[in-house]
Amino acid sequence: MHELWSSFRVFFSSLKLTVVLLVLSIILVFWATIAQVRLGVWGVQEHFFRTFFVLSKLPGTEIPIPVFPGGYFIGGLLLLNLTAAHFARFALKWGKSGIALTHLGLVILLIGELLSGLWQEEYSLRLDEGQTKNYSESFRLSELALIDTTDAQFDDVFVVPEKLLARGRAVTHPPLPFRIVPKAYYPNASLQMRSPATAPNPSLATQGIGLQVTTTPLALTYKMDERNLPAAYVELIAPEGSLGTWLVSEQLAEPQTFTHAGRTWSIALRLQRHYKPYSLTLVNFSHDRYAGTEIPKNFSSRIRLTTPDGRDDREVLIYMNNPLRYAGLTFYQAGFDNNDRTTVLQVVRNPSWLLPYVACVLMSAGLLIQFGISLFAFVARRRALPTA
């Protein structure tokens, strides 16, 4: 047992491990930078950094195999390596206090990045003037929403993440009165009105707008200014039999409706929603320009924030560098649309947002102290030298 423990200690505190990990991280960053052309910044974060291994598919199959250590693996080991080296080698001495402080800053930076990766959430909130919303939407991920709209006041919502549709297996959820069977899923597709000349084969859809539309799969895009628009054909099967197959796509502006067992349902593929216990109304959006020019001077959104219990009912002004911070979320002014009648807010939750700042302060202080100690020692030595 003791031998195992000491072998761990030697392994994790070795300087060779540091060098190997630094070399691996250089290769990883270089590889990811090249891959960014193909995968874009989101894809690279997922495939290379916020993962323990870089996965690649076995040629000719869909089986993923690890081919290189990922960001979490290298970062995690660096963290262990740094901590272990401190306990194994460094003695607490005044002369080394700067190095200890710098390393502590580095440890906090690594932990901060890990926590951001695990906890940070980013959503977008689009509001037209006069519109009220109590949810924000994902930037990229979609969900299939099946909504029982029978009640006059409330909607009963069932959501299936896009990931489950992509798997192609039937989805069941006990309170939902039917099974959802994905018949086809396209991560990016365009829709066109169907005509006999271009689409001689019958549609996969047997209900709704899908009967009049053809779906053309498109190559996935990873560009920053483009987005994949998924589409799927889903069959709903009740205990008494199939209700039909619907085409769903984010490009269909309105949900399709149907009735089952006396209740009215709607079905749609939409951006993943994140509901909040309060609502925001856009009172107005201002896009100020410098007089006589088209050069933007200021963008601002006047928002009314209300909670159902009436505890909060106030107007706030969101503009560049002046976000609204409320209930753990930060709402930034991110864009505008629709001839200045729609605002786009970025909604961010990041409980560990302070850690990088703390890390930078600690590292700067550590370096200042360490160089200061060396400088004072050097000056003292110079002074001690006999003058010629």
Partner: protein, 196 residues
Amino acid sequence: MARMSRRSALPFVLAAASLLTSCREARVGHYRVPKETPPPAATAPATDMASTAVPTGDGQLTWTAPAAWIAKAPGAMRKGSYAIRNEAGEADLSITAFPGDTGGLLANLNRWRGQIGLAPLAPAELEANLDHLDANGLHFEIVDFAGTANGAPARILGAVLNRPGETWFFKLMGPAATVAGEKPAFAAFLQTVKAP
């Protein structure tokens, strides 16, 4: 000693990392929310629509339709929709936008030709069938196809606009006489299409 130790520790490190690789599971969600109230714009009287600049769903293009055109609900696929009536019958103007080039200009024009019983154009014949219009910094490729639909003479006046990352289609289709009468209005309408 050190080399042996490292060899014995390495498998543990790899095993621990593999255990941590498990990803978060996607699940079906179920919740109840109050019904969403539509934005006030949706309740604006429809009669004002035809002569008002209409912003599109994505806010990318605006246009002003002639007052005689009757605005219809855009529907699931359309950015804009109008009914145009005269004594010869009713024609339909649809405005749609799709990402990418949606299969290319030729394929889309041949799809339209198929709708009024015309044979597809060969790639070499494409240019001869196109007119071009530049307005407000936008370039439209315009076609005018005459054929038959349901046994009666039908005509399609169409304009295709390529924008970065997407293609817009303006299609006026209906009885040949109605569409012929609206040709000047359609050209004037395209002149009002603006990008922000």
